[in-house]
Structure formats: structure tokens, C-alpha cells
Amino acid sequence: MSAAHEFEVSRRGVLVVGASAAAAAAAAPAAAQGQGAEPPVIAKVSLEVNGKRRALELDTRTTLLDALREHLHLTGSKKGCDHGQCGACTVIVDGRRINACLTLAVMHEGAKVTTIEGLGQPGALHPMQAAFVKHDGFQCGYCTPGQICSAVAVLNEIKAGVPSHVSGDITAAPQVSVDELRERMSGNICRCGAYSNIVEAITEVAGRTA
């Protein structure tokens, strides 16, 4: 969540910060191997990722996102802000969408994790993936895996009766509407601004599965 949004940051500043963050990320595995003053603590965890049992030995500091990307090489889930502000890392854990960057892998012993790779593959797309393609629900594509995982979970949340900030009567069953989708998807940022097409894609899938 935004800690410093009241500071103005120039576009150049963002690029410089982004580059240094990328360099730091690249250097992280080396640092995690014990070059720092404090040695890493290694722990075992076993997860079910996209239907497959995966046993890992990880530095306890490893987030679920880094476990998926760096250890299981499932690079569909993206690291955007790494602080839960952008939603690019959204995956579905035990049926719920979460920010994979803000949870530790070791906290998910036995959990069932679904990433974008588990939803569908080329030639056998999930209906939400197909709808994003059909409606141009992306431009650069970086936020898209998170958007799609989030969108699939949003429709389940509406079906389960989870209210939102824009629900008129919170005691009634929520309905799919443009306002509801925009509110419920607000944890997924798209810097290309594909929001209106994303809403169209989700709306189409909601109609199909309603």
C-alpha cells in the first residue's frame, strides 16, 4: 500500500529506482547464500503448485512469489512493486487471491497454489485468458497474469456473497456490474491503462458463467 504517494516522483526517477531495484533483485540470491553478517536460515516447505506436489528448501525470507519465480521457474507471476501495491504477483492460494509478494513460502505448507500457468496454456486457455485476448485487456502484458488471476477470483467472491465498497445493500447478494468490477479489481494496477477492456473481458466471462 502506498506509503509515499504524496511525494512527487519524476518518470526518470521511477526508471532509475526501477533499475536499481532490478539490480538488487538480481544480487539477492547471492546475498541470501550467506555473504551478509547473519547466515540465512533454511527451512523445508511442500506446496501443491498447479496440481503438482513441489518440495522446496528455502531461505525463510523467500516470499511465495520468489519461490514460484526463482525456484519453480513459474515466471508468469510478476514482481512489480514487491510491496502489495500493484497486484502483478496475484496468485490463487486455497481458492483465494492473494499478493504472493507479501507472504512467506514457508507459511504455506500443504497449500494449493494456482498461478497463471495453472489456469490455462496456449491452445487450452482459461475462459478469462481467452476473454482478455478477445477484448485487448492488456497492452504491455506485465500486469496481465495478476489481472487474470484476480479476475477469476473476483467472480468467485461475488458468487460467494462477499460485499464490496460499492455494494448498495450489503445484506443483499452482490451483482456483477461495471462499478463492482472496477472496485474489486482496484488492487491490480495497469500502467498501460487497459482498464476498460479488462472490465469488458471480465463482464463477458461473468455472463458466460453466471
Binding site: M1, P39, L102, E157
Partner: protein, 316 residues
């Protein structure tokens, strides 16, 4: 991030004892705020005790018809619970106005109460901050303080508490149930749970080291129009500039608490007899002694106007 050892607590007592006896140990539940701060090395625990397996994930009716909310109930589940939506609407509304769907799926009831301020000086280790590093000064006092507290602050700290849920809990007279390392339990009224900054802004609650929150209980419902109105810089997924949690009865009497204005949810019970006389009368009393900066002075009229809108909605 500093290296840490990790264990899953098997019983609440084990968890409490483990935090009390292990240097620099912390509980972890949802982790959405703690891990964020650990990445920035603002929080630097050497040992984490995962309390997620302790079973505090139920919502039960109490003997007097109230609700006992397990400490680990996720924000999404609390907001969606049938009785919360029906009998404690202000709480459901406050929850869904906070954070994002992803965060609410992880964030817990106890963790929400314990979340730290989003003051940018607290978040930036290059800046002075008495909350992060006692004695280092407050960068916000003479800095960028548009988001900061307008009442109850001190020369040491003008941070606000970021929670929406806690503001609703305050207006509902919630009680925080805890377990101490010695096995003793206690019930802390929400009014006494969070502290004002004073000279010790690094102490945010009255919990003892190792004391574990087990539940939050709500008294039996009091009816009325229950409204949470949040004003922020964008329509969704932003912290409050000002928020109002109110319960207004048909005769115009009621309760009100404000968020985004102080180091804790701000409720002045002595202002509430003025509810039937309107927002100005209530705000004048609730914000007596307010001290705004040039940048955040707008929060005082904004709080009054937000309350006026809430009272109009309650009458409609």
C-alpha cells in the same frame, strides 16, 4: 531483509511464551504489513512465530447476543459474515473500504488493529522518526504532513493510525481479548487498546511483550443506521484523509468515531449528546484542542462536512 528463524506455534500458550522468551521475536499472521516493513528493514525480527494454525478463525455468538470474532478471521470473511452485514453494518462497510481484495483475503482481525502507520517518514529509514528510532526526531512536524494527525498528536509524532476497521470497532465498543505468557487472559476495551504518541510514539498499543490477541468481541447489536464514510485521494485502495463511523438512532441520538485524524481511532463520547443538534455541534466538541498544520488544516472542516453527509444519509 534480516535473516530470521521460523516456527509454527502449536498452542496459543506456546506462541505467547515463545515471543516472550525469544529476543526480537514477533508473531506473524496475515503478514501483509509485517513483511512489507521487514523488506524495508523497519521491522527486523530475528524469529517469527506463525500463529495461523491456532484455530482463532471462527465467528461465534456470545451469551449476551454479541459476537466473538477470532483473532485470525480474515478481513474478507468478517466483512462477508451474515451477522456482521446485518447487525454491525458499520464494521462490514469499514472493512471493504480498506486495502484491496487480495490484502483483505490475508489480513486478520488482530493484525488490522496492530498495523503500523503509513507516515512516509516512518517508512523511509533515511528520515528521522521517533516511532521507528526513538529520539531521532520527527520529520513530519516541519515536513510534508498533509496526511497527518490533527488531534491528540505530540511534538514527538504526528502520525495517524491507518485502520478503517479499528474506527468501526471503536464506535461499536469492541473488546480485545488477549492471552499473556503466564497464561492469564484479559479483556481490553478498544478505547484503551491504542495509545496516543506522547513521548513514546514507538509504543502503539497497551499490549505487553508476548501478549497474544485471541479474539475481538462485540456487544449485542444496538441497531440504528450504521454508516462508514471514507474520504480519500482516489475512489478505491487508498488510506483515509478523514473517515467517519457512525451509528445513528431514529431519534437522532447516536455515536461517532473519526479515522485519519489521530494516532488512534478518535471518539469523544462527550460530543455524542450533540448528535441530534448536527455535525457542527458534534465536531466542535470532538475536535476541541485540535492542532492542525498548514497542510492538514483542511481535515477539520472535512471531518465536520463528512459527518454532516453521514447524518443526512442516516435521516434519508
Amino acid at each position: 531483509m534480516r535473516a530470521f528463524s521460523y516456527e509454527r506455534a502449536r498452542t496459543p500458550q506456546d506462541a505467547s511464551i515463545a515471543v516472550a522468551r525469544t529476543p526480537e521475536a514477533k508473531f506473524i499472521a496475515g503478514g501483509t504489513n509485517l513483511l512489507d516493513l521487514m523488506k524495508l528493514e523497519i521491522e527486523r525480527p530475528r524469529h517469527l512465530i506463525d500463529v495461523n494454525g491456532l484455530g482463532f478463525d471462527k465467528i461465534e455468538t456470545t451469551q449476551d447476543g454479541g459476537l466473538r470474532i477470532g483473532a485470525l478471521v480474515r478481513n474478507t470473511d468478517l466483512a462477508a459474515h451474515e451477522r456482521v452485514r446485518r447487525d454491525y453494518g458499520v464494521l462490514s462497510r469499514a472493512l471493504v473500504s480498506g486495502a484491496s481484495g487480495q490484502l483483505r483475503n490475508k489480513a486478520t482481525t488482530a493484525g488490522n488493529l496492530l498495523q503500523r502507520t503509513r507516515c512516509p517518514y516512518f517508512y523511509d529509514p533515511a528520515q528521522p522518526c521517533n516511532k521507528r528510532e526513538p529520539g531521532s526526531g520527527c520529520g513530519a512536524l516541519q515536513g510534508i504532513n498533509r496526511q497527518h494527525a490533527v488531534i491528540g498528536a505530540s511534538q514527538a509524532c504526528i502520525a495517524t493510525h491507518p485502520s478503517d476497521m479499528a474506527v468501526a470497532m471503536r464506535v461499536l465498543d469492541a473488546t480485545v481479548e488477549t492471552l499473556a505468557p503466564d497464561g492469564k487472559t484479559r479483556s481490553i476495551p478498544i478505547a484503551d487498546f491504542h495509545r496516543l504518541p506522547g513521548d513514546t510514539p514507538h509504543l502503539e498499543t497497551n499490549l505487553a511483550h508476548g501478549e497474544l490477541i485471541t479474539a475481538v468481541t462485540l456487544p449485542r447489536p444496538i441497531g440504528g443506521a450504521q454508516i462508514y464514510r471514507k474520504v480519500r485521494d482516489r475512489a478505491s485502495y487508498a488510506f483515509a484523509l478523514v473517515s467517519v463511523a457512525a451509528i445513528v438512532q431514529p431519534d437522532g441520538s447516536g455515536r461517532v468515531a473519526f479515522g485519519g485524524v489521530a494516532h488512534k481511532p478518535w471518539r469523544v463520547e462527550a460530543a455524542e449528546p450533540a448528535m441530534s443538534r448536527g455535525a457542527k455541534a458534534v465536531s466542535e466538541r470532538a475536535f476541541t484542542g485540535a492542532k492542525a498544520t498548514e497542510q492538514n488544516a483542511f481535515k477539520l472542516p472535512l471531518a465536520e462536512r463528512t459527518l454532516a453527509a453521514v447524518l443526512a444519509e442516516a435521516r434519508a
